[in-house]
Amino acid sequence: MIQLEQLSKFYGSDHDAICALNNVDLTVPKGSITGVIGVSGAGKSTLIRCVNMLERPSSGRVLVDGQDLTQLDAPALRKARHDIGMIFQHFNLLDSRTVYQNIAFPLELMGFDKNAMKERITPLLELTGLSDKKDRYPSALSGGQKQRVAIARALASRPKVLLCDEATSALDPQTTSSILELLREINQELGLTILLITHEMEVVKSICDSVALISGGELVETSKVGPFFTAPSTKLGREFLEEFLRIDPPKSLLDRLSSDGSDKPYPVIRIIFNDENVASPLISQLARSFELDISILQAKIEDIQGHTLGLMIAEFRGNAAHIEKALARLSDMQLSTEVLGYVD
């Protein structure tokens, strides 16, 4: 539904131009939810703003439903934009208009009459749960409600795709999940194709089918969400995953922990595991085979759209040579392990 081909974007003049996007290729299949994730300044906003030409690409093509938007003149582009809804981090509602009037805005632009507008808006108010707030002004709404209005407004023109620029970044975790749920619902019920950008793995985890990792204006990794979370193929992918799985070891452990193994013999190890190497049999196997006492100090298990992903911090006690072997076994199994320190 959306195809970006060799998309590049430079800001500034020729010699000291900043390259915000570098030959990006990305395909967003019809009906999918695709996420682009990256750190701040990676080029996420630039990428999504190029899709509806809020930012003119320096080179490359942007195809939405087969139409190359870079080739359109102003009137044709305005028409094409009716098929592309967009929501923003800071909602961008018109303060001078009520909820209802905000949702009516795109329809006014398209020349709808009052009755036709009402026919469109009423179901949208229901879908977004705003029926009882339709005459309120945005100033009297919470962040989550504002984003719901923005979603209803974006859907009013019945677009084929919805672009979400950090749509939940200004919301608290609970509101975030209700907005994500709404987006999921819209995707499933209306078959709307969604492209979203975010810096939060949580967002990708909850609703995306596919994910593209962007760094320094380049897409470094593109994959389905399951594999991305269980086995990212790039270093940056692993970093994002680690940050996502991050647990802070308790202070009592940190106090005992020494970075030097010469005076304290027993390692504390962090293991990331997934579907294929489920943790519990693994730990008991290691304990048995190498005659170790393994105590799990902390663990976290995430369900990523049906795939299991976990992180564990465990203390290995026993004969030094056996510990060596157990660690070697773990690394043979391609598990991501790290020695955090040593205890006695």
Binding site: L77, A80, I84, L94, S139, S157
Partner: protein
């Protein structure tokens, strides 16, 4: 105070109101247009056009830097062309209006600058034309700021009209100078000043309440 005096002051009050109202309306409309032009033609804006922006901006700056007293004298030929005379209340309105236009334009531009650029982008993303952005986003969203700008302008016009009055334009300023100052009648001076104060207060209060109603922030 004699009834003659009271009639004189009453007449002068009406003259002042008339001058301020007419020049306020004309400069409000033209200043709004000029302020919008400044805003939309600025580089990076929806109708970015550098030459137009630079010229408009320069004209506005020149207009704002000429002292009112000098402007009044300098445009006498123009005033004559427009109202057929260079003295009297009608003649005083011409320089008042000319002086107020660039003043309004800058205030309006400032009010427009308060609008979040995100709103304009959202409208563009929905396929709005520049004209639709002006009429459906810029003006309604800046409504409070626009009313504030007009209020400030009218208050300024009230005091400027007193100056214009002193050089043959009539109105309260004229009465204040001729009777209150030249003939040293403190009561008349006091009354004219009091009426001006009440006018300013009234305009300010009206403006404030309108802004309050316009803003849903």
């Amino acid at each position: 105070m004699s009834t003659d005096m009271m009639a004189l002051i009453g007449h002068a009050t009406l003259q002042t109101l008339y001058m301020v109202l007419i020049s306020g309306i004309i400069s409000g409309v033209l200043g709004l247009a000029l302020g919008l032009a400044l805003y939309v033609t600025r580089p990076g804006q929806i109708l970015a056009y550098r030459p137009a922006f630079l010229v408009t901006s320069a004209v506005v700056n020149i207009g704002r830097s000429i002292p009112f007293i000098i402007l009044m004298v300098a445009i006498v030929p123009f005033t004559r062309l427009v109202v057929g005379t260079s003295i009297g209340t009608n003649a005083a309105m011409v320089p008042l209006t000319i002086a107020a236009i660039p003043f309004v334009a800058r205030l309006i531009e400032g009010a427009l600058n308060e609008i979040s650029p995100g709103l304009i982008e959202a409208a563009q993303a929905m396929g709005a034309t520049p004209k639709q952005i002006v009429t459906k986003v810029l003006i309604p969203e800046a409504r409070g700021g626009i009313i504030t700008s007009i209020t400030i302008t009218i208050v300024t016009l009230i005091s400027y009209s007193a100056m214009a009055g002193a050089v043959g334009g009539g109105g309260l300023g004229d009465v204040g100078i001729r009777y209150g100052y030249n003939r040293f009648e403190p009561l008349i001076m006091l009354v004219t000043v009091a009426i001006l104060v009440i006018m300013v207060q009234g305009v300010q209060m009206l403006g404030d309440s309108m802004v309050k109603r316009a803003n849903h922030k």
